[in-house]
Subunit: 135 residues, 2 copies
DNA sequence: TAATTTCACTTGCATTATGCAAGTAGAATC
DNA sequence: GATTCTACTTGCATAATGCAAGTGAAATTA
């Protein structure tokens, strides 16, 4: 589906976001790209939540069609493809940080280290800059 | 399902959030509660995205089970139920604002008024305070 | 007081999405 | 020439969603 043809249920901003990544997998792929430095198809398959291969292929295609990620050929190995975030994808970082803060607060078994939350509270802007620099 | 019995695919904070409201409808209900002052079952049915009755009933139950909303009887009319956000639900506001800002930036047909984004950029904290005061 | 309306769901059934296991195609390596 | 690696695709079972209609209890109207 071409972007220009995409139809939305509404242009409410919450709905717009949910239509692009409001499923159980898309944001986990974004997470792997931003926070875990993953970039290959095979790497996304190894994440703890165990996405299945057909769903991964489908989501990568949708994320690319919606302009959140790009797919290019790896120079070092013509058989491998590199997935990377576009600026539109990177711009999800502030939202993701708030999501992380919320989950860390309400999930008593959260994986989020306390230092990360502390850093966010102390200076969110520089944390975002650091994370972007790491991409 | 009791909260204590709930099993998560992982305790990654992004995944935790997605398991609680990572579907096409849950956040729209939260939106209606926070931004549109809705509180009755019938009101949620009138939203532009046209949620169906069985899905609405299911999501209200799940959101209540996960501690994001409460369900009480309306004093003025014993036949009506009032749905309201818990503090845990209200705490989603910062994340929702970032989501709104992102969608407003990338959806050229966004419903979000420019003044809202401007207000957010100028003083996010007081915007959040105002919105909470309005609940 | 009997019938109608209001409200909050529930049910049945068709369609769509997801999950799992296995298979494939092309390039690189052995 | 055969095996391996990588990125998928396919088939099929199960689960989630969408749509229309129905239900039951309380309140309102006739």
């Amino acid at each position: 589906m071409k972007r220009s043809e995409r139809k939305y249920r509404s242009h409410c901003p919450i709905n717009f976001a949910q239509e692009l990544f409001g499923d159980k997998w898309s944001l986990l792929i974004i997470r792997d790209l931003i926070f875990k430095g993953k970039k290959y198809y095979g790497e996304f398959l190894t994440s703890g939540e165990k996405i299945s291969t057909n769903i991964l292929a489908d989501r990568l295609e949708k994320l690319e069609a919606d302009g959140l990620i790009t797919k290019t050929i790896d120079n070092k190995n013509n058989v491998k493809k590199i997935y990377a975030l576009t600026p539109k994808g990177v711009d999800l970082l502030p939202m993701l940080l708030e999501m992380i803060a919320w989950s860390a607060k309400y999930d008593d078994k959260t994986d989020t280290p306390a230092e990360f939350i502390q850093k966010m509270e102390e200076d969110k802007a520089s944390l975002i800059r650091e994370l972007i620099a790491g991409l």
